[in-house]
């Protein structure tokens, strides 16, 4: 609870310090220190005005740091002469923070780390644990990122697409740890959607909600990956699905389609099917056509081949797979699946084993190995 409050307040407090004259990098450092202090003392003594407390502590830390840096002495004197600041204004500053932390000059990994710290209010240690790197390494990654974007002017902050890509990464490639990065990505996207009216922000939010809804069914008790078709749909979170469907429908009604809306529409069609057999694959293929048109992405084409295989039969799926680069991740796994559906278990088993060797995640590899073993056992009988 305290921690959630601290996280929510972090971007606001950074903005207040910046408005008082601190540069972004120094403000962010000072707020991070105040945040760590808050995590330590709040559980025993929650301040009556948490935001005021954070501003006071962060400002003091900022002045301490400025004082310690003798080269900043003159600027510090100027700062202390400034009039007291007013209350934090609306969401615009916070929005600027999203853009700055996702700036195109940053590598994706740096943008993710900086966003989680400055916008998400996570500590460096939490981010390091989530991404399984030492805290010192993560601290350096963040401070380099800050140096890169510190001087960027507001009118050079890039477009909303860069912000969405970073949030997508946090959601999609979040590792495990104490911090639930998927929920954190949803929280940040929700917050962004509240301060900017943009169909693709809504599209991404819907996409996340619809996938998050399936999380309880995605792995079994032993941590095994359960494919969509075999998931126990009664374990899907119907509230999240209802919200996701609502958000994507509202966005689609604006008639400015984008890749996240298209992906959310596909996820909504899956969510809408009471059983895997009742999935509307014909409509899903149509959405993949849109997605391919919008992104020209090979991954979208690969997923489209799977959908074509379901809508028009495995031969059609294999024909859609034919022109694609076999080096694409999951290409061999898709081919294995389609060959099995086409009644060729020997080819499928060989391809599943090959796909397992090329898998990039442990759960995926284990899943593919089990598929190969299942077919090989059938073939022996």
């Amino acid at each position: 609870m305290d921690e959630a409050l601290l996280r929510t307040l972090t971007p606001t407090v950074i903005c207040i310090l910046v408005r008082r004259g601190a540069d972004f990098a120094a403000a962010e450092d000072a707020v991070q220190e105040a945040l760590v202090e808050g995590l330590r003392v709040w559980p025993d003594d929650l301040p009556r005005d948490p935001r005021g407390w954070l501003v006071t502590v962060a400002w003091r830390r900022f002045l301490d740091a400025a004082r310690a840096d003798s080269s900043r002495r003159r600027r510090e004197e100027r700062l202390q002469d400034e009039p007291a600041p007013g209350p934090a204004q609306g969401g615009d500053d916070a929005l600027e923070l999203y853009f700055r932390c996702a700036h195109p000059s940053l590598t994706p990994g740096s943008a993710v780390a900086l966003t989680l710290r400055a916008v998400g209010g996570l500590t460096t240690r939490q981010i390091a644990q989530a991404y399984l790197v030492p805290e010192a390494t993560m601290a350096q990654r963040i401070s380099r990122a800050k140096r890169t974007v510190s001087g960027v002017r507001f009118d050079q902050l890039g477009d909303v697409g860069t912000v969405l890509r970073v949030l997508y990464l946090v959601f999609n490639e979040g590792y495990s740890g104490d911090v639930d990065l998927a929920s954190e990505a949803i929280r940040l996207t929700r917050q962004l959607a509240a301060s900017i009216d943009h169909e693709e922000v809504a599209g991404l939010l819907a996409l996340m909600l619809l996938h998050h809804a399936r999380r309880p069914a995605r792995t079994d008790g032993g941590g095994r990956l359960v494919p969509l078709a075999e998931q126990d749909r009664s374990r899907w979170d119907t509230d999240l699905i209802a919200e996701g469907v609502d958000v994507v429908q509202t966005a689609l009604a604006c008639d400015r389609l984008g890749e996240y809306q298209a992906q959310a529409a596909i996820a909504a069609l899956h969510a809408d099917a009471p059983t895997a057999d009742e999935t509307d694959w014909v409509q899903i293929v149509e959405w993949y056509d849109e997605l391919v048109r919008l992104t020209d992405s090979p991954v979208a084409r690969l997923n489209r081949a799977v959908a074509v295989g379901e809508a028009d039969g495995p031969r059609a799926g294999l024909a859609a797979l034919e022109p694609l680069d076999p080096a694409l991740p999951r290409h061999t796994a898709v081919a294995a699946y389609l060959h099995e559906r086409d009644g060729d278990p020997a080819t499928a088993a060989r391809l599943y084993a090959e796909a397992a060797r090329a898998a990039s995640s442990l759960q995926e590899r284990d899943h593919l190995t089990r598929q190969a073993a299942r077919l090989n056992a059938l073939l022996r009988d």
Partner: protein, 135 residues
């Protein structure tokens, strides 16, 4: 980002370009080599790409379970095993190309006469968590 293991083999890789064992180098050549490795790790920490680095003793033992209530069976050490791991470094980088670039830099650590050793290093990606959005 993806984590890669940079694996250094005493034996088992392609034939080394420099076949003088380190204990035959001049002491200052050894120091320069070790200094380079240390500096390299420190620099990677600075770029936010360092995860771990360890060296291994060349002496190893094979162990296996031998049934309930029985002591583990050990075998070795073997002087002539085909492959012998000397140590590793784990990095967390944006791309495969970056992993290759860093491995090449590490391989340039100085050897005899201060010339780059050009050791072979094996680069292997870690298996990661599966992505949430798959279809």
């Amino acid at each position: 980002m993806t984590k890669y293991l940079l694996l250094k083999h005493y034996r088992g890789g392609p034939a080394p370009l420099c076949d003088t064992q380190m204990d035959q180098w001049a002491p200052e050549e050894v120091s320069a080599h070790l200094q380079y490795m240390g500096d390299f790790a420190a620099r990677l920490e600075g770029t936010g790409e360092f995860v771990d680095g360890q060296a291994l003793s060349p002496e190893g033992t094979f162990v296996r379970y031998d049934g309930e209530g029985r002591a583990p069976v050990t075998d070795g050490p073997f002087a002539e095993t085909k492959d012998l791991i000397a140590g590793w470094m784990v990095i967390d980088v944006e791309s495969y190309d970056r992993a290759l670039e860093l491995a090449a830099e590490l391989s340039a650590a100085p050897g005899p006469r201060g010339e780059p050793l050009r050791e072979w290093l094996e680069v292997r990606p870690f298996l990661s968590a599966p992505s949430t959005i798959a279809e």
